[in-house]
């Protein structure tokens, strides 16, 4: 890091020496290392599952400046894993909550918060001056945006990603190291890979991965140890196994290769094939001819009609709430179980928000079911509009 060698390192006060004593007595960190940590800065993209534990440990370790980019508000469903936020914080902005916790943990840390959505327009401005970017977001456009900005600016990216009980971590865009695009030149088409909001996540998993990201950040700041550059770590919490794969810098990489074609930030939504977020489609005003609203479905049921209601969520979601009389076949099982569906009744597909069941409807049409409608807005809209007695998740 440029800050470590080129610039005069800050000194530690008597209070700081007491606070960091367990670092100071370690030969690998010592006084010099601690001063490098104090001189260092890390920008956390997101103060959620990964950003929470990362920011807390970075603060505790004495990183001089921690930046956080987020615009979200603390929700009850965050508390199962986002330890920066407590029950009392529900409804507050995550930035405000994060700032309070970090200040309480370590008043020597400067916290800079950015209440904006990271975009191609602001990424370079926000990243400027930071030594490490810690990417903890949950969507592909932002992953590619963070990667490209890091490569273009020469800032390493402490990367972490999670799904259910499996996590991935690496350090991308370090000098001489590979970047995210060397590993994945192209994103998957939208909808093929579920997000945590759809697929769920074991609460402790982001703790492990976020702390690995924080560990790598501290190693990058101090220059100690072997950073996770050119290595891809996969953690399986269910089997408690770590695996490591080799990563190579791709000479043909469009952003960090020998003849890069990406030399400035692009439109990442377009790059990832996203026209309009699925959730907005689900809550938008128009109803297409292959959809039915919860109110209209209720009317049909009340009128004695008997559409076959196909719930394509997972069994554990079905335990939380359901439309009475619905049948559960998870989306993943549908291709080999669609013969179980009646041919002589109209079918209404349904999931949590309408995204997965839209795919189910499209699939059923390809295998010969003609009268299929997707429940607009899913069970959440059903609960809002028809049956508020059921819990939402």
């Amino acid at each position: 890091m440029a800050t470590a060698t080129d610039v005069e390192l800050p000194t530690l006060s008597a209070e700081e020496i007491k606070r960091y004593s367990r670092h100071l007595i370690m030969p690998e960190i010592g006084m010099d290392g601690q001063r490098r940590i104090k001189a260092g800065s890390v920008l956390c993209i997101g103060a959620g599952g990964l950003g929470s534990p990362a920011a807390m440990y970075l603060a505790a370790a004495g990183v001089g400046r921690i930046g956080i980019v987020d615009f979200d508000v603390v929700d009850y469903s965050n508390l199962q894993r986002q330890l920066l936020h407590t029950t009392n914080d529900v409804g507050r902005t995550k930035l405000e909550s994060a700032r309070n916790k970090i200040n309480a943990l370590n008043p020597h840390v400067q916290v800079d918060t950015y209440d904006e959505a990271l975009s191609s327009d602001n990424a370079m401005r926000l990243f400027k001056g930071y030594d490490v970017i810690l990417d903890g977001t949950d969507n592909f456009p932002t992953r590619y945006l963070v990667n490209d900005a890091c490569v273009l600016m020469g800032i390493p990216n402490a990367y972490g990603s999670i799904f259910r009980f499996e996590g991935q971590a690496s350090v991308f865009a370090a000098k001489e190291g590979p970047c995210y695009r060397c590993l994945y030149p192209e994103p998957p088409p939208p909808g093929l890979v579920p997000s945590c909001a759809e697929g769920g996540v074991l609460g402790v998993l982001p703790g492990v991965i976020g702390v690995i990201q924080a560990t790598e950040s501290i190693k990058l700041l101090t220059g100690v140890g072997q950073p996770l550059i050119g290595r891809f770590l996969i953690y399986d919490a269910l089997n408690m196994k770590f695996r490591e794969l080799k990563l190579r810098r791709d000479p043909d990489c469009p952003v960090c290769g020998t003849n890069p074609t990406v030399t400035k930030l692009i439109d990442y939504d377009q790059f990832c094939g996203i026209v309009q977020p699925v959730h907005e489609q689900a809550t938008g005003a128009t109803v297409s001819t292959s959809e039915i609203t919860p109110v209209d479905l209720k009317k049909k049921l009340d009128a004695g009609e008997t559409p076959f209601i196909l719930d394509v969520r997972e069994p554990n979601e079905y335990q939380i709430n359901k439309i009475p009389g619905s049948t559960l076949i998870p989306l993943g099982e549908l291709p080999r179980r669609y013969q179980e569906l009646p041919k002589d009744r109209p079918i209404v597909t349904q999931c949590k928000t309408g995204a997965r069941s839209g795919k189910a409807r499209d699939f059923l049409k390809t295998v010969g079911f003609n009268d299929v409608l997707n429940l607009k807005g899913g069970i959440l809209a059903w609960i809002d509009q028809v049956d508020p007695s059921q819990p939402k998740y």
Partner: protein, 105 residues
């Protein structure tokens, strides 16, 4: 002599929730073919309609990316392990202004 293919979490719905599948073949391509024969639903996630491995699905033979070996023609030895490593984006629901549209509360 069978080889093991590690199945990542997002693809386990297509392998009856199995974490790994025993397959046989002489090359990486043959092992993958055996896998998709046993678990048909995986095919569209791993291959394009033209039968090419999808770009966002990486396949590793032990700890090495097959792109830097002989790709699907890479020969396999008994006991070699194959891993499918798809891209996963999970983390904070942020910073796309989506949570607000979704009504986070």
């Amino acid at each position: 002599m069978p080889n093991t293919i590690h199945i990542p979490t997002p693809l386990r719905p297509f392998t009856d929730k199995k974490e790994s599948v025993e397959v046989s073949g002489a090359t990486v391509g043959e092992l993958l073919k055996d896998l998709t024969t046993r678990h048909d639903g995986l095919k569209k996630h791993l291959y394009t309609d033209e039968g090419r491995l999808r770009n966002f699905v990486n396949v590793y033979l032990n700890d090495e990316d097959i792109r830097y070996l002989q790709k699907e023609q890479t020969p396999v030895k008994p006991g070699d392990q194959l891993s499918i490593v798809p891209s996963v984006a999970g983390g904070a629901v942020s910073p796309k202004p989506r949570a607000k549209a979704e009504g986070a509360r």
